[in-house]
Symmetry: C2
């Protein structure tokens, strides 16, 4: 397809597509004439991923480039690509903006390590996790909970770790529906970004429903149990 059709089908303006091409975030199309190129379904998929990261994830272009480097790294095996791509996603700077003191951070690292151990992760996975932005995000979040005086020990947090693992099984089942390794890696990145607000809103709604189940006073007019 030509640039105009790629723009129409992706919903991304031709000016933005040209910018992505110049920045190397979108691979060049197949050159047809001196001024025209042809694009394929892979370009469409890549644009969808770019929009998810830039528009929904509000990621700066430099970070997008880092994530795409992992997505496109043919020298890695499938797991390493998928893990590197999801692991390279930035933590949300808005939520963890405050610079934490070094002291609680060191303690938070011990808690994070113990938590991953309680989750039964093999040592090589724990080792590579420490290099990921998601691990820094976990340590910063734990230090924040500590700063506010709420419990943050690994034993207390273990149920959240267990549920995160069940979420991951659901996530990966979903990623595996996609055919090619390239599509799987792209889907893993896009769904991490797109499903986070779905998950957070469901948790808040479920909190209110659970609170209703536990605390709601029986309404008058209701038949007795």
């Amino acid at each position: 397809m030509r640039l105009a059709e790629l723009s129409a089908r992706s919903g991304v303006s031709t000016a933005t597509i040209k910018y992505y091409l110049r920045e190397g975030l979108l691979p060049p199309g197949e050159r047809i004439t001196a001024t025209q190129a042809a694009y394929d379904e892979g370009h469409l998929r890549r644009l969808r991923l770019l929009r998810a990261m830039v528009q929904v994830g509000r990621m700066p272009v430099a970070t997008v480039r880092e994530v795409l480097k992992a997505v496109d790294d043919d020298s890695l095996d499938h797991h390493d690509r998928l893990g590197a791509a999801v692991g390279a996603l930035p933590h949300d700077a808005g939520r963890n903006g405050s610079a934490a003191d070094p002291e609680p951070v060191a303690e938070a690292e011990r808690v994070a390590d113990r938590l991953l151990e309680l989750m039964g992760w093999p040592p090589e996975v724990r080792g590579s996790a420490r290099a990921m932005p998601a691990y820094r995000m976990l340590v910063a979040a734990l230090a924040e909970v500590a700063r506010f005086g709420y419990p943050w020990d690994a034993d207390h947090l273990a149920p959240y770790g267990r549920l995160a693992q069940e979420l991951a099984v659901t996530d990966l089942d979903f990623v595996e529906r996609y055919g090619s390794p390239e599509e799987q890696v792209e889907a893993a990145v896009a769904l991490t970004v797109l499903y986070e607000p779905v998950l957070l809103s469901l948790r808040r709604l479920a909190d209110t429903a659970e609170s209703y189940r536990r605390f709601a006073a029986p309404r008058t007019g209701e038949a007795g149990a």
Copy 2:
């Protein structure tokens, strides 16, 4: 305690405490002299909650006021207070900033309603959920997933709904550790804000571990199974 001690113990500057007092976000202390007031543990707790909402949740003061109105509403029973307080938390504007078209939003509402039905919520809970910011956040997030062409039907999302309910059981077990209804409502609001980044980072790390489990090529030098 006096203002200086309240400031030292809460880590909030006296200028900020005076601002919260002027804005009515912090109830006045007990007047001792014309220029001095005494504050108690309740003031300390409230300051901790204010910091969680303002500093970590980055909520504007007008929204903080809305949430606190629910926290402090004695006319509601315990469930309604807790549900109203957590439900009044704003969705993260940064993640869902784009104005969605009305057409996908109407469809997203149908999907959200069906999802809550699949989660087995009683009709009265589903009815009151529709008035919450968390419900608008869910609808916006679903419309966003749809806009990007990823599956977003209620049947596909049902496992996330089930896991959100298990999270809610863990959340509420935790909230119930606190003694008084006031402390429980405050803990529910603070932990919703503080535990969200913990949960998201654990999910990303668990995604990479699950990807390792499924896709990692056996390393050379490993003993055969």
